[in-house]
Symmetry: C2
Amino acid sequence: MKKGIVLLSGGMDSSTCLAIAKQDCDEVACLHLNYGQRTEERELKSFNLICDYYKIEKKLIVDVSYLSQIGGSSLTDYNIDIENPNLKSKEIPNTYVPFRNANILAIATSWAEVINFNRIYIGAVEEDSAGYPDCTIEFYKAFEKAIDLGTKPNTKIEIITPLIELKKDNIVIKGLELKVPFELTWSCYQNNEKACGKCDSCFRRLRGFRLAGINDLIEYE
Amino acid sequence: MKKGIVLLSGGMDSSTCLAIAKQDCDEVACLHLNYGQRTEERELKSFNLICDYYKIEKKLIVDVSYLSQIGGSSLTDYNIDIENPNLKSKEIPNTYVPFRNANILAIATSWAEVINFNRIYIGAVEEDSAGYPDCTIEFYKAFEKAIDLGTKPNTKIEIITPLIELKKDNIVIKGLELKVPFELTWSCYQNNEKACGKCDSCFRRLRGFRLAGINDLIEYE
């Protein structure tokens, strides 16, 4: 039996990842994290709407506001302005939340071990992920090894990254094929009502839709 | 400069680990986790007393009560009775909190990356850790690799496990050499006032003191 936990932020990538997990698995559960990010409320709304759409029964919403306590990112420290996108820069943008994905994967693994699930789906995108170090194939492989060694001997959990090698426009096309309700998703880092259209995440989303030749149906300022 | 974050539960192992870190490092910070365990309040009290004793200025106390939400352990799910110690059993005791140490290390790494610390000290004890899979050298090595790949290129963080190969009685002796205030520490899984003397953790502590020929000064029921 394939049983998958999907890390579902409520954005377009994780929602596409959920659609893929629904195809692959016998059972799917969804995990969402509130970490004091600026758009926490809006992302949670999208999470719940998308879970309803896919009739997900096992949901876990976890408070990891310690990531705000720790700070170090413009997503969680409101004293740091969110950087505008700069695709040519080799610098990691200040939206990077240090080692966030490891925190998320550790939580997902704990949950998977308790409910006997054997897959964790994460919609990370290497090339289009703004250079975040915890979004690379090598990192996920290393973390999978840590899971293998750090859980009970009969626990086997695989990390699945179905989007890791795609570009944003490929994800739009893939999502549409799978009938992902993109109109329910939220990507903006900045706003909770209408997307700003300017932050790194909006910029990458809009470019993806444009290159795919598809209209993005969410509202922008 | 050696800068170490010590994972300080308030128990005898992590307190000895702190004493070692104080010797090794130019600066020491302490991290404590509340995870809805039965003795949360008592452990936090010990954490604060020990930090005062060692004049620690950088402290971080993090709420990870999602580990209780997830459950699966007698430490966090009060419907499961805490197993009595059985040193001959090959089974992992039900006090195992699934993948807990990975969650803790992920948090410590996020913090270390933000405050520019380059070491994480964890007082894990392989042989005496009741078979928890996330207390082995192999697991820590694998996690260190994940840290290396999942943080910024210039971030270098080492996981230090100075007690990993010791037995409890060696830790008592080592701690006394280093003047660790064992009377301020707390090990019991069950009680908040007087230690129960019966749970796995009390049992291992008492045996350690007995084998070392030292009196344990905390109160037992």
